[in-house]
Amino acid sequence: MFTTGSKFLIGSAVFAIIATIAYGISQDGVMGTIGLASAAAALSFLAGVNIFTHDSNVSGSDASAIDSCAAAEPAPANSIWPLAFALGAVVLAVGLITYQAVFIIGIVLLLAAGAEWTTQAWAEQASAEAAHNSEVRSRIANPLEFPLAAAIGVGLIVYAFSRVMLWLSKTNTVIALGVLGAIIVSVAFLLAYRPGLRSRTAVGVIGVGVLALVVGGAAAGLDGERDVHEQETTVDLAHEGICESPEEFEADHNASQSVAATAAVAATITLDDSGELNYELNGPRPEGATALTLQRSSPSNVLFSNKSGEERRLSLNLGPATAGSGADEEDAPHQVCTTLVEFDGEQNLTLIIGLPSIAAEDGYHFFVPGVESAELELIVP
């Protein structure tokens, strides 16, 4: 009773009505609503005409038409594409008056549905045999469909996963990954030891998991990312005067407490209970040396280990800014520091010091803001 054309028109009309309502509720201004309502009315009218005239239906009384008419050909297979095409058109229209992203989704949907529809229609003319036609369609379309579907699917999962991970707090991401790993291992274990498990069950479980991830991703994406502070250490902190303050700043709160290079570091500087700064080297310390020596212009990883019981940062004072020669050095930081390190925490500071310490009148000094006694001289030959 419902021919393809009428299905398309009914679908379009329904979506136009929904769009009208949605737009009317969510948006100010009447022009859009009027436009959409007009479209809905027009589409409904056309659908009605189409059903009434039984367009492309063949009259049972016309004997000669029975052999020659299109209906004598095998019936076209069911198709979702007209519906999708209509949806695309409506989304496009809605996008035109709301957001650009919606508009783009509409175009993509329209093009995809159009291409699929065309291919299917084309394939259905290949022969009188439906199964063969379907294979023809698969052969021509699958090489594009499969990779695209896989790309979209994987992309969706990755994107959803990234949204969830960025939404969780730093600590919870670790827990979440741990839980995820445990789930994967246990599912793998189950599959390995229960080979009799029906594949539909497995597919079902995985499907639910993916769906949950995508939904979670959407929710997390809407809620927004956690606050990520770009700059973890050094230059910016000095510019903001943070290096001299024991207080907690936004940067401290949000920066990750990463330890980049723990192997063969140049020195480990420890702040102990008594408020003293001590250093250890990879290997023995030069006998009797009080100052730390780091080679000039060489990238040196210094690890700050906080054993003081309070959150502390390690700062390095490189003398007055004028120690550098030349005007271009004016903006150069004369301090670098770590962010606040929690008790028993460690943080890495990669230093490249081009100017020898003799250039600064008082030399270079490590210090810990808020701890008077904590000071350590740095010699750069």
Partner: protein, 669 residues
């Protein structure tokens, strides 16, 4: 380029909905290539034998390219303060010598034998995925050309084949050479990976009836292990190369120390690939030798299961010893100890192989053909290389030897002695199989002896100069550090250069032998009185390999069809019951009725071509990337649409006879 076939006018009668297989009409722009002669027969072939021959020919060409680079290096080092090459050119030269020899000669040459011989040895008509096979070949060829194109586009890579970070970063290597190297190896890496998957599936799924895994010819076994190694090692280097590509071309900081990176990351990634790579290089040669020795000893391989499992063990343990390349890199004493011991452990399965080869010959009836000479040469030279390897498995000793010429000597004994000699044994052994003609044995002997003398003169003295403290990769050495005693660097460097040129002459003698043998009469059908299945067909084999898929009852099936044990009880007495020709004639008489082979295709070469276009794009222009991607998508689409066998109408003239497909049609993807 048939896109789809229209079924016959009358629909299939079965009513099951299965599409009729015999198509009568097709849409498309081009006819499928169906030529059996001319360049098209080679460029678009999917026949594993033609692909194998092309692999071999191109690899041989790169052997001479790499050899030329080696000679220039040796000329530069013949005297103190050499003036032949500039520092820059020298650095490019040794980088490309290693890259060419490893990635463009030994690996593809082993792939050539694997491609040609594995289907024959397991009684299959082709590999599992014939078009993928063609793709591997063309990717390798285009990748090789791509890397070498850097010579004329601003200079080749200059960071050494190990390309240690951060010396490979843009500030330290500002030309595009490293980019060419990275992208070129990515391309040949795809080739290796595709080929590995293809051969693994072939070996596991397409063996002739009766051929259990433990009845597989040993070359196929070693081939399988090699492909598994490739399967697990190539992804690692691919990741490393991608990191480096992003570091160089897209401002990533994976190896930037000032951003907190640790340059040792590259070393770990490189050597996790690099050490299995050694076994990827030598295991195929070991397989060849394990085929050649039994044939010319007239005895089965001694301890076949031991050889198989030692090969597998080498492959497995080979992934756990990478850090022995980094004993001086500052890993810390515990790591160094662990890897030193693991490295010694890998000497055990390697020793097993040498023992088994010797015992194979023990009590045999040895015929010293050229192939046999090369095989014996391998045992000798590889033993030397293996023992010098033990001396630097001892880590403290290695800290004196690593990065000196001693290491260069060691791995040339391993790779040339243990790899290349085996490949040459394979050439002489299988030449009559592949081309239907014998190579001249007299010239073969010349070839062998000149090469052996050249090799020992070239690489032997490197032990000395290495232990005398001459580091590798130096574009000049100086009198000041040469010493004056018996072991002075000057004399031995000079000897080494002479040896390199003798070796070069030896290699050229092989080409000369091919030329001298061009008019030889057709070879006997079973010239060596061989033992395995690849000889159970004509030489060269027909396109479909076997008229009848052989059924296998024993290891060394072909031998047991020719000889029967007529002894009683414990007394064994082998008597010839048939000649090879008779056995083969018997097979022909019972030929399978219907044999369909996969048809040639344009798409593998087109798809392979798109990849270097993409790669040039990464270096020069994103427009080229778009062009390469467009070609790639077109090729993939055409490939996916193409049926495995060409439509009958595309043959000219159409073949007569029954068109019903037989079961033996290879799966084509």
């Amino acid at each position: 380029m048939a896109i789809i076939e229209r079924p016959p006018e009358t629909p299939a009668e079965t009513g099951t909905g299965a599409p009729a297989a015999a198509a009568s009409e097709s849409y498309g722009f081009f006819r499928r290539p169906v030529e059996t002669k001319g360049w098209k027969a080679w460029a678009f072939t999917v026949d594993h034998k033609k692909i194998g021959i092309m692999y071999g020919a191109i690899a041989m060409m790169f052997f001479f390219v790499g050899g030329l680079e080696a000679l220039l290096i040796r000329l530069q080092l013949a005297q103190a303060d050499g003036q032949i090459l500039s520092a820059d050119k020298y650095n490019q030269m040794f980088t490309m010598h290693a890259t060419t020899m490893v990635f463009l000669f030994v690996m593809p040459m082993a792939a050539a034998f694997a491609n040609y011989m594995i289907p024959l040895q397991i009684g299959a008509r082709d590999v599992a995925f014939p078009r993928m096979n063609a793709l591997s070949l063309w990717l390798f060829i285009f990748g090789g050309i791509f890397i070498n194109s850097s010579w004329i586009l601003g200079g080749a890579a200059d960071g050494g084949w190990f390309m240690y970070a951060p010396n490979s970063s843009v500030p330290f290597s500002p030309t595009n050479g490293v980019d060419f190297w990275v992208l070129g190896l990515l391309i040949t890496g795809i080739a290796s990976l595709v080929s590995a998957i293809n051969l693994i599936v072939t070996v596991l799924n397409m063996r002739a009836p009766g051929m259990s895994l433990m009845r597989m010819p040993i070359f196929t076994w070693m081939g399988l292990v090699t492909q598994l190694l490739l399967l697990f090692a190539m992804p690692v280097i691919t990741v490393a190369l991608f990191l480096l590509m992003f570091q160089r071309n897209y401002d990533a900081t994976f190896f930037s120390v000032e951003d907190g990176a640790d340059p040792l990351l590259w070393q770990h990634l490189f050597w996790i690939f690099g050490h299995p790579e050694v076994y990827i290089i030598v295991l195929p040669a070991f397989g060849i030798v394990s085929e050649v020795l039994p044939v010319f000893s007239k005895k089965p391989l001694f301890g076949y299961p031991f050889v198989v499992f030692s090969g597998a063990a080498i492959g497995f343990v080979g992934f756990g010893v990478w850090a022995h390349h980094m004993f001086a890199a500052g890993l810390g004493p515990i790591s160094v100890s662990v890897f030193a011991v693991a490295t010694m452990a890998i000497a055990i399965p390697t020793g097993v192989k040498i023992i088994n080869w010797t015992l194979t010959m023990w009590g045999g009836k040895l015929r010293f053909t050229t192939a046999m000479l090369f095989a014996v040469g391998l045992i000798v030279e590889f033993t030397i290389g293996g023992l010098s390897g033990v001396t630097h498995a001892v880590a403290p000793s290695d800290t004196q030897q690593t990065d000196t010429y001693y290491i260069v000597a060691h791995f040339h004994y391993v790779i040339f002695g243990g790899g290349v000699l085996g490949l040459f044994a394979g050439m002489y052994y299988w030449w009559p199989k592949i081309f239907g003609k014998m190579l001249n044995e007299t010239w073969g002997r010349w070839n062998f002896w000149v090469m052996i003398i050249g090799m020992n003169l070239a690489f032997g003295p490197m032990h000395i100069v290495g232990l005398q403290g001459q580091p590798r990769r130096m574009y000049v050495w100086t009198e000041n550090r040469a010493g004056e005693g018996f072991f002075n660097l000057g004399f031995w460097n000079f000897v080494s250069t002479i040896g390199a040129f003798i070796l070069g002459v030896g290699a050229l003698l092989f080409l000369f032998n091919i030329w001298a043998s061009r008019k030889n009469p057709p070879a006997p059908i079973d010239p060596w009185d061989a033992r395995s299945l690849e000889w159970l067909t004509e030489s060269p084999p027909k396109e479909h390999n076997f008229d009848r898929i052989p059924s296998v009852n024993s290891l060394d099936e072909f031998f047991h069809r020719k000889y029967e044990d007529v002894g009683e009880g414990d007394q064994h007495d082998y008597k010839r019951v048939a000649t090879g020709a008779e056995v083969i004639a018997n097979e022909e008489a019972h030929a399978d009725a219907h044999i369909h082979m996969p048809s040639p295709s344009y798409w593998p070469i087109v798809l392979a071509f798109s990849v270097p276009v993409l790669a040039y794009g990464v270096i020069y222009s994103s427009l080229l990337i778009a062009a390469g991607a467009a070609i790639a998508i077109m090729a993939m689409f055409g490939w996916a649409l193409e049926p495995p066998t060409a439509d009958e109408s595309e043959f000219d003239p159409p073949p007569s006879g029954d068109d019903e497909p037989s079961k033996e049609v290879a799966v084509s993807v």
